[in-house]
């Protein structure tokens, strides 16, 4: 489903930042339905991998294949076609601040389906799934961190994506909410979606018993089927 072949990503220097090599000659493959954890210290290259998959960034060299598409060939204005196959979950939730919980979730579906009735049914269904059906009319500022993350998950799930990219989704949450979110991600994976989780939380990684790719300084140092956190 996703294949990285000898991918290197360098960020050019600018007025405020020095040149940086984020990934060096990285190769791996993720099959459909897999649950993969990307683990490593801050700056190891986890987020860069997710950005390359979602066409936010293009590799400096090497190829990133999404299904049969080389993401380097995708124009910025066509990147939405890739992103409509992806569900994003972010550490800082990235909710639209002036839209309600319902509207935030609906937005991802409305982006390519305008049947009002269908949108309403689907949104309420997914809000029920994450336990937020009673908060549908709240604005993000009225929610706790855990609730915001559940909205973010609901938004990621609403269009039934082929793959979920979760970038440190538990980074801002307490252990109780962290367990909650991980449970939901596992459930999504059981439902058939591919999940790529980026984290540096040892407990989370060790509790999953899933494939772990460990990164250090932009290189893959370990790729184990039932891996554990070891840095």
């Amino acid at each position: 489903m996703i294949e990285f072949k000898n991918v290197t990503k360098e960020y050019a220097p600018n007025l405020f930042k020095e040149a940086k090599v984020a990934l060096q000659n990285v190769s791996f493959e993720v099959k459909a339905g897999e649950f993969v954890t990307l683990c490593g210290r801050s700056g190891a290259g986890k987020t860069t991998i997710l950005k390359l998959i979602s066409c936010e960034e293009k590799p400096t060299s090497g190829t990133v294949m999404f299904d049969d598409t080389n993401t380097s060939d995708v124009k910025k204005s066509d990147a939405y076609l890739i992103r409509q196959k992806i569900g994003f979950i972010f550490q800082d939730y990235k909710l639209l601040s002036y839209k309600t919980v319902y509207e935030n979730v609906a937005y991802a579906l409305e982006a390519f389906d305008f049947n009002e009735k269908l949108v309403k049914d689907e949104v309420m269904q997914v809000l029920e799934l994450v336990g937020l059906e009673n908060k549908a009319n709240c604005l993000p500022k009225e929610l706790s961190g855990g609730e915001k993350q559940r909205v973010s998950i609901a938004r990621a799930l609403i269009h039934r994506p082929e793959i979920i990219l979760a970038d440190e989704p538990t980074g801002n949450l307490d252990p109780y909410h962290t367990r909650d979110i991980i449970k939901i991600l596992l459930k999504i994976n059981e439902g058939g979606a591919t999940v790529i989780l980026s984290t540096h939380d040892k407990e989370t990684v060790n509790s999953l018993h899933k494939r772990v790719i460990t990164l250090e300084n932009g290189r893959i140092i370990r790729d184990e089927e039932e891996g554990v956190f070891s840095l």
Binding site: S54, E56, T69, V74, K75, K76, S77, D78, A79, Y80, L81, R83, Q84, I86, F88, K94, L95, L96, S97, Y98, K99, E103, Y107, A108, E110, A111, F112, D113, F114, N115, E116, R155, H159
Partner: protein, 312 residues
């Protein structure tokens, strides 16, 4: 790659409904941003309307000046009225001539009396036993510079014995000067209009750009969740348009109130230019101008500001 998802043709109505609803929600919920944007557009719209009035005022003033520019031809006292009226007819046929008024000695006397009630000139007039005023023609040309052609016409031999005096040579310099002033005022008006309009456009565009910059992250989120550029841009255009519409309506209402309440003072201030009458006779034009300026600035500024974040 196969493009999946909605087809704009099939779902155009639903698409537009979503775009308008989303834009309306943004307009209503982002109170401070809406207020700040509308305020700047309001200033631009008021400036636009002000410049329209300014152009009207300039036209009024130049007309006033032109009306004052005339050639006065006095005839000898023994020239019969019919002869003078015939000359008037001949003058009216000239292309350059806008208007010719016949002033009889009696009319000239009455006008003088009205203008000099109780002053020393009246005392001097009282000493005379007969009406000293001669019959005359007051000629207005279409352009101030055309007085020379009219003077040449009057210099023909057939009129020589009838005319007492043509005062164009004495007033020539003044006429030319007034003509120059009129042109300068018009040019200044145009330059000022262009300059202030440019400032209004730049200020509005930059304010909207800043307000959309503050939503840069939101645009990024919209892109990440798979929204097409048109679906992202649409609500911003609607929001910008609504701000423009709101600013236009408020500006038109305020203008109407101000003109009805303060017209007397404004007429005095603007040297007799009746702003309310100008407003009434141009009401549709002013309404349209304010709408075009408000909506245009709102839509265009939003379009260019969002484009920055959606460009390839």
């Amino acid at each position: 790659m196969k493009k999946r998802g909605f087809s704009p043709c099939k779902n155009m109505w639903n698409f537009l409904k979503k775009i308008f609803k989303s834009g309306w929600d943004g307009f209503m919920r982002q109170g401070f941003l809406t207020f700040a944007t509308s305020l700047v557009i309001f200033i631009a719209v008021v400036l636009g309307a002000g410049l329209f009035f300014f152009q009207g005022g300039v036209a009024y003033l130049t007309q006033q000046i032109r009306d004052k520019i005339d050639i006065s031809v006095s005839f000898k006292s023994d020239v019969p009225r019919d002869t003078i009226l015939q000359i008037r007819e001949d003058l009216t046929k000239l292309d350059q001539v806008k208007k010719v008024d016949y002033i009889s000695p009696e009319d000239a006397y009455n006008t003088f009396v009205e203008a000099h009630q109780g002053d020393q000139y009246m005392e001097a007039l009282g000493l005379l036993s007969a009406n000293p005023f001669l019959p005359s023609l007051r000629i207005q040309t279409k352009e101030p510079s055309q007085y020379k052609q009219v003077s040449e016409f009057l210099a023909k031999d057939e009129y020589k014995d009838l005319i007492n005096e043509v005062n164009d040579y004495k007033r020539g310099v003044m006429i030319e000067k007034l003509g120059e002033i009129t042109k300068s005022v018009q040019l200044l008006g145009i330059l000022l209009t262009v300059f202030l309009s440019l400032i209004a456009i730049i200020v509005t565009f930059n304010t909207l750009r800043l307000s959309i910059y503050s939503q840069k992250e939101e645009i990024e989120i919209m892109r990440l969740v798979g929204a097409k550029n048109g679906f992202i841009r649409g609500p911003f255009l609607v929001q910008g348009g609504l701000c423009g519409l709101f600013a236009s309506i408020i500006s038109f209402m305020l203008l109407t109130i101000v003109l009805f309440v303060l017209n007397t003072q404004m007429t005095t201030l603007f040297m007799g230019f009746d702003c309310l009458a100008f407003f009434k006779s141009n009401i549709l034009g002013i309404m349209l101008l304010e709408l075009v300026v408000g909506l245009g600035l709102g839509l265009l500024s939003s379009y260019f500001a969002v484009r920055k974040y959606l460009r390839d």
